[in-house]
Symmetry: C2
Subunit: 497 residues, 2 copies
């Protein structure tokens, strides 16, 4: 590494006083870069693809940049499409986005430019600023290419119903291709975005084709909304728990034995031996409680080797888990989790209205809504309810049996719109009782020895629960298939892309 | 499920209006519970283990609760040890904590009660409130048991140097065992907490013993501090990126082929076939950029099947990764990451002073500090610097070659105190160039087809980087072994507990 490659002066900050020091050399360099950028600002360095006999009045106002390899640090200020409205009438702006659709007829061109869930119309008229050659170039840009456009925003008289930005359109003066899409797309974004029940005359795309071409499918407004909402769920889950004194932990995914029963576990070749993939963070979050972490949560991948090919099974998903020491009664924990879930749903309703509109398919509302959910809603006027004290026999071995009646257990499920979203329980924190229950479930004690041992040196009573990120998003948005809620879903038949 | 098990009324909240409705039945139930709790408040339901001939004046003021199985919802207000100081002189409080140490001599007992990183002294004097029997009971409580103590806080004349709370001690009137530890501990918390170089006359615990008994080892102040800081690193990383428009994503850990080169990858039995564990989220975070996510980050497990048994290798660790579309130059991304890392370190310095003091071992400061780090510090007065433009040959196949000199690449590493903490680069976003580079690296194109294909339909130029959570924590705290920074570390020889 030569001296000149050390950028310390530019980026360097002394942690103690936070002072930023630029050397003379670096100041000079910055000045040179700026000069260069200004000089090239008007696209003088771009390649114009058309060469014609008559003079091109739009020369250097359109073309392709070529592959951007960071040879210069151009400073263009791009605006976000979502912020454009009629108050900006007359303003000149640069936009970088995807060519969503284009239509060139005679001396006029209409394009729609897309930025995630937002779209705006751009127009070109052959005349004083736009040459015939330029319009032809625009007509040849393939859909889904990334383009830079520059022009003037015009308030329109009639709402543009085909775009999210309905009040304005951009009169284009410059257009450059940043990254070209191949001309033939394996699926059309508009088709993938269309719901199956929307209009029988229009094409839709089946799920396998969508997942095979997931990169394109993820560009639809629905997909963009689904993953924005998932990020929101994780954020609220963490914030709500952090402010209640929970500590975030990371639990191992590689485990020595199929600790939660032998079925449905993936085996890993581990050097000369074998290991397994954790089916949940259950045992480890409890061990964190035994290790004095008091209240913990963790968000991470969990793995289920279940050969189920249904709309709601995946072999890998994201678990949001929490575990909490309580003082005397596990209902202390039930209260905390109940408030947490309500906080999540309220926050989503309040802050993700755009995304809910783009994503909500409500497929479940009539056909799948469970009878009990309906009943509870009618009787108690609520979408959210909790069932308490499940039969011991249907819960995992580590569930605390009910002290008054051993047929029951200190366990609970929480429901949203009649669908279970969270399962939890008080856990056994006594090694003797835990050993008995494990034996009763025919679990090889040797394989869970470290887990059982962790309760030998004092452990507070504790309870917890977990939700599946994709499942909650699916139910919240009423989607028909959980795979739509995983960026790159895995099931028994699919591990690609 | 019988009707009475539905708690909907208690927990139920209608999402639309947030109104809480309690039925009469439930109100009655609550009232009964409260009455019951009040009645039992003074420990009348606890078992006193001692039975003696002379009357015990402390009867019902000490004993064990028995296994807490949520039979009643007692309401005691416990205080946090960390908040106790001389301003509370004379106040009566309940504390739940661990019995850290105890010493009973004659008619006096001294105990230290620990709550995570905080400790307080408790004292008992046989007299009007404490019986001989009670003191004997206290002397028999095993260390690390969880206990409830009730008493009066007294301001002390001389600082208690052996506790974190030096201004006050608790004069104990009641003491109950919540969860008893086995009398023989596999290691002593004080010994595990002691640093190897501290005092040659006192016992320390070697790393394997500590990791074998990780539940106890995690209770030391050092461990508590390390994981508090790690939670902090994750939180700041996310907050700093979220406010800059990044979206959190979750990438698959199960992948179809060893996509980043065949070495060091774990194989998974996947139904009738095979799959692999992702060595990083690299390809998937880039695919998210091609899918219009614009700026993404992800925190999750990464796996390396490297048979290295050193102080800084693990087979599973937590990656904090980001990827970002840029406009014209990857230095736009370098600037963002630089600011991010500085923000993380400043935030830790400012908000985790307690934890840094408990965790900082500074083992690296003299012996391991790299020569370059020292040089940069002397010349530029900074702990943090960036090296730019590494030789292409030492970087992965997807790294963008430098346009001006193909021997170099648009890649960078970032350093803290002379140690590399982040590695990143501009990535190739052109499928043709990417194919060429993959061929050059002898990578089977068929195995990365989905990845290469994702750049065929337009992709913005992008760059990113990643840090290892445990590594950053180790370097920040100057710890001697990365395993101390993993709750349950995995290496070629250890996958348990």
């Amino acid at each position: 590494m030569s001296d000149s490659e050390i950028q310390a002066g530019v980026e360097g900050v002394n942690l103690e006083d936070g002072e930023k020091k630029l050397s003379k050399k670096e100041l000079n360099k910055l000045a040179r870069q700026q000069k260069k950028a200004e000089k090239k600002h008007q696209g003088a360095d771009t390649k114009t693809e058309e060469s014609t006999e008559e003079e091109d009045i739009s020369k250097n106002k359109y073309g392709t940049y070529g592959l951007i390899r960071s040879t210069e640090r151009k400073e263009l200020e791009f605006v976000n499409v979502g912020t454009l409205n009629s108050s900006l009438d007359g303003k000149e702006v640069w936009i970088r986005g995807r060519l969503h659709t284009s239509r060139v007829q005679g001396k006029t061109g209409f394009i729609v430019v897309r930025q995630r869930i937002f779209t705006i119309q751009g127009v070109l008229f052959v005349g004083a600023e736009v040459s015939k050659q330029m319009l032809k170039f625009v007509g040849n840009i393939s859909k889904e290419s990334i383009i830079d456009i520059f022009g003037v925003l015009h308030k329109v008289d009639q709402e543009i119903v085909s775009c999210t930005q309905r009040e304005v359109e951009l009169h284009i003066k410059q257009i450059f291709v940043v990254s070209a899409a191949e001309p033939r797309l394996p699926l059309q974004i508009e088709d993938a975005a269309r719901r199956a029940n929307e209009d029988a005359n229009l094409a839709t795309v089946n799920l396998d084709t969508r997942l095979d071409n997931r990169i394109l499918d993820l560009r639809t407004q629905t997909s963009q909304a689904i993953f924005k909402i998932q990020a929101g769920i994780c954020e609220i889950f963490r914030n709500a728990l952090s402010k209640r004194g929970f500590t975030e932990i990371q639990t191992p995914k590689i485990i020595p034995s199929p600790s939660e029963g032998g079925a449905n576990v993936f085996e890993v070749s581990y050097f000369k031996g074998s290991a397994y993939l954790a089916q949940s963070p259950q045992l480890y979050k409890q061990m964190a409680i035994a290790a004095d972490f008091d209240r913990v949560f963790t968000i991470g991948a969990v793995f289920r080797a279940e050969d189920s090919n249904t709309h709601r099974h995946m072999t890998e998903f994201v678990g949001l888990d929490l575990e909490m020491a309580f003082n005397f009664h596990y209902h202390e924990v039930v209260d905390t989790i109940g408030v947490l879930l309500i906080e999540i749903f309220k926050h989503l309703q309040a802050n993700y209205q755009h995304e809910i509109e783009a994503g909500d398919e409500d497929d479940l509302s009539t056909t799948n809504e469970k009878a009990l959910g309906k009943l509870v809603r009618e009787k108690y006027k609520t979408d959210f309810y909790i069932l308490d004290k499940y039969p011991l026999s249907v819960r995992p071995f580590y569930t605390m049996p009910n002290a008054e009646d051993g047929r029951w257990s200190n366990s609970y499920d929480m429901f949203m719109r009649g669908e279970e979203i969270l399962s939890g329980a008080q856990r056994i924190h006594d090694p003797v009782m835990l050993t008995e229950r494990a034996k009763h479930h025919n679990i090889d004690l040797e394989k869970i020895r470290a887990y059982i041992d962790s309760f030998r040196y004092g452990c507070p009573p504790h309870a917890g629960g977990g939700i599946g990120l994709e499942r909650v998003a699916m139910l919240f948005l009423g989607l028909s298939n959980i795979r739509l809620c995983s960026l790159f879903p895995r099931d028994p038949r699919r591990i690609t892309p």
